[in-house]
Structures are given as C-alpha cells and as structure tokens.
Symmetry: C2
Subunit: 155 residues, 2 copies
DNA sequence: GTAACTGCAAAATATTTGCATCCTT
DNA sequence: AAGGATGCAAATATTTTGCAGTTAC
C-alpha cells in the first residue's frame, strides 16, 4: 500500500511527504468517507489542523478525493475513482449515509439516475445522497443476540 | 402576506414575534434558498446573529423550512411545502444550484428519481442536488446584447 | 539549491451558551 | 402574570493567513 500511496501522489505531481502519505493511506484503508475532524482524530498521531485543511484542499483540487455534501455543516471527503481528472470530477455514483453507524459510503455500483430538468435548465453535475441503514447495520439487527460472559451481543 | 406569515407561525404553535415574521417573510418572498449569512445581510434591518441561528433552528424543527446540503460548509434553507410535519420532513423534490447566479432553487415539479440500492441497504431519505445553469441565466445568455447609454446589457 | 510543504502563532469567522430583559399570550 | 423569545456578552469552535523553518526533489 505504501507504494500505491506514493504512486498516487506522484501521478498527481505532488511531492511525497509524510502527512500526505498518512492521510491518503487513511482514505485507502477506510471504505467510506472522512470528515476533517475524523482525520485529526483517527490518525494515530496528531496532525496539525492546518496541514489537514491544506492537504484535503490539495487532494480535492487534484481530483484525488471528492466532497460529499451533508446537511450539518460538515463536508466529508472520499477517494475518487481513477477517471477523475484535475478540475473536473466525474461523480457518477451515489452516496449513502448510515443513520445507525454514521458512516458515509460511496456506492460505486449504483449509478446516479437520469433527472429530467425543466425547460431552460442545464446541468453539469448531480449529487445524490441517501440516508438510511447500511447493509452491516441491517445484518446486525437481524442476527440473533447471543449472551456471553454477561454481555448481550449481536454477531 | 403578513397574514400568511402569522398563520404559519400560529399553526406551528410558535409565538408571533418580530424576528420570526421578518425572517419567514423573507423566505416567502424569495423563490429559492437562503443561507444563514444571506439572512443577516438581506434583511433590511440587522438581526442579531444569535436570533437568526435560533430562528432557523426552530423553523427546521417545526418543519417550516428544510435544509439543503452543499459542498462548501454552508447549509442553506428553503421553505417546505405543506405536507411537512414536525420531526419528519417529506422531501420529494430536487434542488438546483445555479453556478452563474449562485441561487439555490427547489424544483418542486421534479420528483426525485427511484434509486435501486444494493441488497441489504434500506433508505429513509434521499437528497438530490444538481448544479448547472438556471433558466434565467440561460435566457440571458441567449438574448441579444443591446447597447444603451454606453452600457452593454443583456435583456 | 530551490521550490514546495509543514507547523506554529495569530487573525478572522462561525457557532453556542448564559443570562438579564422584553414581548406574547 | 408566566413562559417564551430576544439581544448582549462571552465562551467555543472552525477556518484562513503569514511566516520561518524543514523537507523533497
């Protein structure tokens, strides 16, 4: 993975620095989206807050990650797939926010639907965010509850 | 309109105060969405910033307005149609952000499309935001340019 | 060696909270 | 009159900017 990270940075003509490698690794290792705060916290070591801001901005500009809008003033970011180029991002998948576990996922396999706009409108970008319960959480809900050592657990 | 405003507030068992009337009127008069900052500015007179925060929050809780997600850490708000009830908001229209004039519109007539989620996922809410150029701006672009009194104008 | 990146300090913004006062009901 | 809403002050939190020191190439 370390190699992949270096590669991505180089391909985008960014110098390969520690913070960038660590933050990018985070995105690669997590299947989902991260908010600014998550990164400050999740990373084992502490990053300077400013570095995180600047790194995220750089990554967005280069098309390495993309933003996912939320209604709570907390933009989240997720890795882009390969065909994103600098400046123009081809976002043809939908985003899913699980209200149980709170994670945000890119559902790559679900294409954004066609929307017929009223006459006169032209669109250049469409963003679909769905809230609900994710597969994992639904599975847990349906799985039997076991009792072990005094704890009630879902498998 | 003053009457309508009073009515909406009463129907939601909110006391009818000056700030609430003014802010609600703003929403009624504008066909589009407003961000916190817009309200502080657009209102002829100055509201206390805190009052705006609290009023918006109250309106959202009551289902009078709803939030529209954006990618730039600036949530916007727009009036809900009648069938929104407290706590649960029925958002079955899409939102449009014009990249020319910057306005955010609720396209009431465009229903959100059906999206088929992968097995295991359940959805409770779907949000669609489209960026592009709105009707007005497209019209301006196509209209002839006239010269009047030394100014070049689009009609 | 040079340009780019980081981290600290601090400025600028944005949001939340407490409380005394004022307004609705 | 009582409860709720406002506005001020101030506490927090978030984001941006400048700059000097460090690192990648």
């Amino acid at each position: 993975m370390a190699i992949e990270v270096d590669d991505i940075l180089r391909r985008n003509s960014l110098s390969v620095t520690d913070s960038r490698k660590k933050i990018l690794s985070l995105f690669l290792s997590i299947h989902g989206a991260l908010a600014h705060g998550d990164i400050e916290r999740k990373a084992g070591e502490k990053f300077d807050r400013v570095t995180v801001y600047r790194t995220l901005q750089t990554f967005v500009e280069k098309g390495i990650i993309h933003t996912i809008p939320t209604t709570d003033n907390s933009v989240r970011y997720a890795l882009c797939k390969d065909n994103c180029t600098e400046g123009h991002h081809h976002d043809n998948h939908i985003h899913f926010i699980c209200m149980q576990c709170g994670s945000t996922l890119c559902l790559e396999e679900v294409l954004v639907p066609e929307v017929r706009l009223p006459k006169g409108f032209t669109s250049s970008e469409i963003e679909v965010v769905i809230k609900g319960i994710c597969k994992e959480c639904n599975n847990k809900k349906n799985s039997p509850i076991v009792e072990t050592a005094g704890l009630r657990l879902r498998l």
